[in-house]
């Protein structure tokens, strides 16, 4: 009799059979950001520093409650030889709770506050910003969705003078470079490839800001960048093998620009059968703070 009662109770608790499965999700343009040379004893709002906000879109067909919170990275999530942020309280948000309808976006400033403690000079820290839905009631097992944005920051090796104030800049790290990844298969050495012609993918930089902005485009090796090597690929042997039709240009507010990309591997046997990654680095110019965005080009040599 006792086991029957237990069975009934558990049955009551979990027999809610949900309606048919539906897909839900989240997306963000901030997967990983690296901020270099912050000062101890200062507070930095990334929106004011470089027009960089955490914007998360509800890609579900239903409304969600969204929460943003800092998380210490798991050991496997630490990158670039960074250490855990010493205290999650260093990170705060202008707003951290949202109710989002289908397709709606949540936007929050990320604020990094570093205590005035000289033991942090020259250190590199990492924190994960966890944006996640809260799920719903209704019985049974429900799915919620989350994104972890990786924030890595370095602290200057020297301390600024007493009169130092965090810079407020129009530099934008909020512009976009697309596509984020370009793949070229069967590349022959000794030939110049027009990437758009070969892959159909055109490199575009979009300036969503409210003023005209000058950008610089550079090819970099992984070693000479803040990027990490992608599994199955090795670092480009020479960044100069990737070239652009223009390296510096101004894009009016709200407009985009297409740039031709050329790949030119010299005719050398040593490249044969290998897979390389190049980093395409677009960044602002002539501004107090440099705002930059990465894209990547992968080349598999025949």
């Amino acid at each position: 009799m006792r086991s029957f009662i237990i069975s009934v109770i558990v049955v009551v608790a979990l027999t809610m059979t949900p309606d048919k499965a539906i897909g839900g999700g989240l997306s963000t343009q901030l997967g990983e950001a690296v901020i270099e040379n912050l000062q101890i004893g200062q507070s930095y709002n990334l929106k004011q520093l470089a027009n960089l906000s955490l914007v998360v879109t509800n890609t579900s067909d239903f409304p969600v409650d969204l929460l943003m919170e800092p998380l210490l990275p798991a050991e496997s999530e630490l990158k670039m030889e960074a250490s855990d942020i010493p205290d999650k309280s260093w990170i705060s948000f202008s707003e951290d709770q949202f109710k989002l309808g289908p397709g709606e976006k949540a936007s929050s400033d990320i604020i990094i506050t570093i205590p005035r403690d000289e033991s942090h000079l020259g250190k590199k820290y990492q924190v994960m910003i966890w944006s996640h839905t809260l799920g719903t009631g209704g019985g049974g097992m429900n799915l919620a969705y989350g994104l972890k944005s990786r924030i890595i920051f370095t602290i200057d090796t020297t301390m600024a003078g007493e009169d130092y104030k965090p810079p407020v800049s129009n530099a934008s790290a909020g512009f976009t470079v697309s596509p984020k990844e370009i793949f070229l298969q069967g590349v022959e050495t000794g030939k110049i490839y027009d990437v758009a012609e070969y892959t159909g993918q055109i490199l575009e930089i979009t300036n969503p800001g409210d003023c005209d902005r000058t950008f610089i485009l550079e090819s970099r090796t992984v070693e000479n960048s803040l990027a990490m090597i992608t599994e199955g690929f090795e670092d480009a042997p020479n960044a100069s093998y990737l070239k652009f039709s223009e390296n510096e240009f101004t894009i009016p507010s709200g407009e985009k620009k297409s740039v031709s990309v050329y790949l030119d591997f010299p005719s050398e046997e040593k490249f044969s059968g290998r897979n390389y990654v190049f980093v395409i680095y677009a960044h602002t110019a002539d501004e107090g703070v440099t705002g930059g965005v990465y894209s990547r080009l992968y080349a598999s040599i025949k």
């Binding site: 086991s3 109770i9 027999t15 539906i22 960089l52 019985g139 919620a144 989350g146 810079p167 803040l226």
Partner: protein, 180 residues
Amino acid sequence: MEKLKLSIYAGTLFFLALVFFTSVGQAANPATINVTVTIQNLSVTATGPIAFGTVTASSATVASDSSHVVNDGNVTETYSLNLTNPGGWTAVQAAPAAEQYCLSAMFNATLPDTADYAYTDHALSTTPTPCSGSKFAGDQTGLSVATSGIRYLWFKFEAPSSTVVTTEQTIVVTVTAAAG
């Protein structure tokens, strides 16, 4: 001679001042701040909810439907999984006692057997735990999933050995994506 001594003394003071200035690490011109977004467009989609049907105390049930988890971003992603406890029960990573339960998750192409789940590798906790080659792995993993990659996530529920909970309970499992 006295003047020379004085100038050496003054010079020493100036030198000491410089040493002191450097030792406290103060710089008149701090390094330029660079902000670089190294990865853009992180996105994940998963289907749910998951039905377990009727379960009884001390039983183990593998749901017959999976959640389809899709990397619809533009970069390789690794997933993390965690759960949120319902009010009356606590998740454990072992055989559950009274008022405890164990919810396990596995990436697998097809419906796993109940015995395929191991507490060490598959039991969920409230901490978002990244997938690895073994964590939450079956014949698929949630590690380094390529753009547009689809994974099938299956769940096993082990009910409390006994419970006084009489109200409806909801367990929320969160699928989180990070670049890498």
